[in-house]
């Protein structure tokens, strides 16, 4: 049996019913305002609002990291005629690298060629110098031989003259 059906308690129960049933004087809920609040997400407590912002912050940070990661690789999304390319284009990157290598090779080749030319010129100069020196030496040798021959001829002429005079 429910306690309130006890005859002994009937009067107390009636008093309690009267007390609990008394209307509280206040205007009814403004339904329009309530629906507006509901549709605009009101009613969230401050911690809930704060945590929503924190979550949004994390989502944005994650999206930024994701895009940054995508920019480091080559991603191409095609949807019909539309095409979105993210990150470095491999072909462009290869072409760019090739050009750098070619330019570097060319620079090295030019440097080498210039160096070689300098060596050749130096050798030519040295050869020319040696030729001049050889010619000079040969001329001096010829002059000495001529001088020596003349000395011998003169000595022989002297000897002949002395022998004829002694006869």
């Amino acid at each position: 049996m429910e306690p309130e059906h006890d005859a002994e308690l009937r009067d107390v129960v009636d008093a309690v019913r009267d007390w609990s049933g008394e209307p509280v004087a206040a205007p009814p809920t403004d339904i329009e305002a309530l629906l507006f609040a509901v549709e605009n997400g009101a009613g969230e407590t401050m911690p809930e609002k704060r945590s929503r912002w924190i979550v949004a912050g994390w989502v944005m940070a994650s999206a930024a990291v994701f895009l940054l990661a995508l920019s480091q690789v080559n991603v191409r999304i095609e949807w019909g005629q539309a095409r979105i390319t993210l990150g470095n284009d491999v072909e462009n990157k290869n072409n760019s690298n090739e050009m750098v290598i070619t330019a570097d090779l060319e620079r090295r080749f030019n440097l080498e060629r210039a160096h070689n030319w300098q060596s050749i010129e130096a050798l030519e100069a040295r050869t020319s110098q040696l030729e001049g020196s050889l010619e000079q030496t040969a001329l001096e040798l010829a002059n000495r031989q001529y001088a020596e021959s003349m000395t011998r001829f003169n000595d022989i002429q002297t000897l002949l003259a002395m022998s004829q005079s002694s006869k």
């Binding site: 129960v13 509280v24 004087a25 629906l35 609040a37």
Partner: protein, 193 residues
Amino acid sequence: MADDRTDRELMIAIRDVSECRALEELVRRWDSRLLGYLGKMLGDVFAARDLRQETYLRVWRSASTYNDTFAFSTWVTRIATNLARTQLARSRNDTGAVSAWARSGGEEAASPLAVRKIFANEQELFVRRVLEELSDADKELLLMRFQLELTYAQIGEITGCPDSTVKSRMNVLLRKLRHELEHQGIDSGNVLP
């Protein structure tokens, strides 16, 4: 045009399709009951109005968690009760708070003066004071049963006790009230309007 759906069906409409009209209908049905319950629990009309609004907002926001094997009345009462308990704990911790009566001083029906006008009979005033000075748990029990008209099983679901325990608590409480009134020399039969 009146909506003939049950409270449970209206709540399911809110949960499943976020139907604003269903919320509107539930507010119409529960408005005065919830205000009465919260007003008596808190003893403060302004706080009761705020918590009534907060209760509806929570009903809407937590709709996805509504288990339709339970009655809407149980669910909404649990929400309102939790809000009221939090509010009561907060007001007790707030040492500098103005008393609830002072805060609701502008509300004629809630002010001591208005109470005196309505209940000229001193005995009625005494009965009222005894009821209002009950512990929160006792007041909660009386209001759930006699104001919100919940069954003992539903009260048990909300308070987490078997309904036999709830009945037993109610029995003890009513007898204690009767004894207190008799002790003050009041014939409880005379206090009724």
